[in-house]
Symmetry: C2
Subunit: 161 residues, 2 copies
């Protein structure tokens, strides 16, 4: 099962135009640790991986990490063909799709995202890197919502294909 | 007080590229009547007014209606200068900002939107007319959220300027 677990602004941006995410709350855990513990594999695009490297030398080092890129990154499993890789994953595996925009669009288009857990921050950015774009339309089933005192909300959807 | 009371997709679009809103739920009231009753004045851009005309001959006819346009529309109060008009409104008046994108951006930029009530539909459109864009950044304070069985959610924010 592929879960997109991600934070956006109210207007659906995952980062500013230059990739900055300075507007994200980091004051609390917001259920991250519990989610992370439940995950077997962590997948992402190259730019997102490079962003993660800014925070940690070996991001997600206690999990199986796969970066979708045609380049090579030392000591990291790089996969050039995301679609066939994901289609061959055992369904019992819980996979966290970290981002970013390009890989999300691709997997959304191919109906390979099963659930979306989207944290919406109480901010309008008015521009930046869109989580969803490229004309891919998907109906969703709302599973749960949660509201935090900081103004963050958590939306949990299942893809209806 | 200016309230933006509006429906969007999860990715923040108010309509498809061609203006279509066929994906909106209309099965229930979702608090619309109560909100509408509380409103003194209804304001919107020209395109939004023309959209409303598709549903009704005299949309919002029991309220004071103002359309922001430099053109003339028979029997409708048209205002060419939204900013000065709004700045001169008595603060005791509750004003519903219906849309659309252009006027929302302008008023957001000028800090003239006090509250946002945004209904988020359980759909990703992947493109269309953005509610927020143009690089205008605003911090918000979350006041309330509500969840409906249909998967619709209602987010209520106050602008933090």
């Amino acid at each position: 099962m592929i879960v997109l677990f991600i934070a956006t602004s109210l207007d659906g941006y995952i980062a500013r135009e230059d990739g900055k995410v300075d507007w994200l709350f980091t004051d609390q855990d917001y259920g991250y640790k519990k989610f992370y513990k439940s995950v077997d594999t962590v997948i992402m695009g190259r730019k997102t991986y490079e962003k993660a490297l800014e925070f940690e030398t070996h991001p997600y080092s206690d999990k199986e990490v796969v970066v979708f890129t045609k380049r090579k990154i030392p000591n990291v499993r790089c996969v050039g063909e995301p679609i066939s890789f994901i289609k061959n994953l055992p369904h019992s595996k819980k996979v966290w799709l970290v981002g970013g925009g390009e890989i999300v669009r691709l997997l959304l288009k191919e109906d390979l995202i099963n659930e979306i857990i989207q944290y919406v921050h109480p901010i309008i950015l008015g521009g930046g890197i869109s989580l969803f774009s490229g004309g891919i339309e998907k109906k969703l089933k709302l599973l749960k919502i949660a509201k935090y005192r900081s103004g963050l909300i958590k939306l949990h959807y299942r893809s209806m294909g």
